[in-house]
Symmetry: C2
Amino acid sequence: MAAQTVASTTDSTTVDLGPASALSCRECGHRVPLGPVFACEECFGPLEIAYDFSAYDTEELRKRIEAGPANIWRYAPLLPVPADVADKPNINPGWTKLVKADNLARELGVTGGLYVKDDSGNPTHSFKDRVVAQALEAARAFGFTTLSCSSTGNLAGAVGAAAARAGFRSCVFIPHDLEQGKVVMAAVYGGELVGIEGNYDDVNRFCSELIGDPAGEGWGFVNVNLRPYYAEGSKTLAYEICEQLGWKLPDQIVVPIASGSQLTKIDKGLQELIKLGLVEDRPYKIFGAQAEGCSPVSVAYKAGHDVVRPQKPNTIAKSLAIGNPADGPYVLDIARRTGGAVEDVNDEQVVDAIKLLARTEGIFAETAGGVTVGVTRKLIENGVLDPALTTVVLNTGDGLKTLDAVAGTGLTATIRPNLDSFREAGLA
Amino acid sequence: MAAQTVASTTDSTTVDLGPASALSCRECGHRVPLGPVFACEECFGPLEIAYDFSAYDTEELRKRIEAGPANIWRYAPLLPVPADVADKPNINPGWTKLVKADNLARELGVTGGLYVKDDSGNPTHSFKDRVVAQALEAARAFGFTTLSCSSTGNLAGAVGAAAARAGFRSCVFIPHDLEQGKVVMAAVYGGELVGIEGNYDDVNRFCSELIGDPAGEGWGFVNVNLRPYYAEGSKTLAYEICEQLGWKLPDQIVVPIASGSQLTKIDKGLQELIKLGLVEDRPYKIFGAQAEGCSPVSVAYKAGHDVVRPQKPNTIAKSLAIGNPADGPYVLDIARRTGGAVEDVNDEQVVDAIKLLARTEGIFAETAGGVTVGVTRKLIENGVLDPALTTVVLNTGDGLKTLDAVAGTGLTATIRPNLDSFREAGLA
């Protein structure tokens, strides 16, 4: 990963991104002004947003949040966005349901309170709307006019929708041989949808090349040159969970791992709430969930390693299939530091967990949700997750997007349209 | 339609359904106690809920609603549900986004403010969650233990999900030869999903037979013997639209027509808000939208008829494809009385409208949403809908459920993973 010196069309000293004060290297702490860069010029470490929250009074902040809109912009004082963000055209995700999952709790033997944070209620039905909404505001602040990304699914739709609403051009790059359903979901928003002759790695390499070229001027790649802003969107999951629990930390939280960014930002969000006095300062445990067919972080965790060895993904949980997760080492650190763990389940267990969640709570999850629910079950069976503690499980996507995973589900009976046939089938 | 005398396991005089005081015939006004019946024993007319709202103080009611949960139960004081409904396990739909659609307004030439009420944000991604949530509470009040329906799509999923959450058995009847995708969406919640060897009419006839048989005791069919309660769920669309506009009536509202029930209940909801003093008493216009391939109400409206001649549906807007709409005459009355109209668009216009909405607002609508947006455009072009007035257009479902309608949408370019190929494609 090379240091980036991408030109911006706006002077970063005039950029208004609310409480965001600078970019700070997670490795060496080197600070640079806010801009469309993602890697430290000193050590090539990842840049993240540094904030100035010093002016906030806890009670005033709590009231301001509670009086805010029913979307992520209620947390605008804690995000890299201008104060008037809610008035700008954006996709406005978040404030999704935190479902008290009493039926699932009974099946899993959880007695301390079990909740599902259901992000399928977002505008394009995945948590990606949260991060894209942030990247869009950064793109606006930096004067970009095209919103772009490399994607194999959920992200393409989220970028297309957000760009459409905000009046940006969008140009999304995907492998040319994606399934037709996914292409339609991404193409319907009317932006440029470009198939790249190659695999996802080729798509990513091309995007990096384009960012460094004059042809890429004015382009905001949500998950590349806007990544520090984009990643902050995941903090809102932590904020919402705590506010929806009545400004309380959960004892345990089970988070899916793709790049690992979501898990690290949820931890960052929880830490911020503690420092701001919005929740009590007490321990919580973060658990990471992977699919066995793409489990580099889980394998490293179990082996006691600090580094993550890349894998070639082969799982039905395609939205989590990142074989070389950039934030893997940070995830290992957080899981160990908080007393959590990282675990994985196989594809059959993923499908069983999707059905379990649907049958008990009426929530139809994407395969990623099958991973978190399946891992929760496994962690309880193994005595790792304490069923007497309050536990939150994330569902980050919608079952309608991964119908193939449960394609074997079907009619329980077929009868003729009369009562005799009904009785013969044992349905009375 | 025969008068119903279905046995209930609960004495209707002890039923607590909040402000609901009786069932009242829409034709002859005959009143009967609350129970699982849907047709007047005097004239076979449709029964609907009568309320006692006399105890409400306007300002107290407004505050109580505003302090309520972010779902339809904020309106519990105006619905046939007990006061503690929010504490019972249900699917908790509603409080979906009212999107200010400035880009679409520009394209359509609307200057008075254009909004899309986007019900794709409901738990199973259609407005059906609103009506099923009501029916579930009625089923609970009447001591039913099985939730059932006849369905060809959205309703099956909504019933399966709600029953799962509430711990009801569910048994849903569908034509045996439905598309596999729709079967999966309905089956995943784990209830009985019974294929009937026959068409949708055969399914409905069988359900009516089952209700009259001892085998159907304890069964609540959401859209048959629970229909008066079920139908009230559509009122919440009217409540939410007005509250989200700042307790103001819209000038014009465009509603899709299937059975016509939704449109009539939206009118009922608006009338209630006026009578309760929650909004100003001033005129509003309701417009009905149909697909040309199933346009019995539109045809009757244009011909000046009071009765609706049944059609054999043939349209891609399958969720609206009811050829003999029960509430057709009431829709005609409301459209004429309020100064609205009923219009239809063909399948090509439906697809164009789906793409228009996605391209301008980032909202991917079901075909039913294509019908309302398409009809809005046509009504403006014909000078029937006034672009200088505040207009709300309903999107009642999600594009992910009708992907086939936009299957022609795809890649805008295919390139090799290099900048030369990118430039050759004219993308720079």
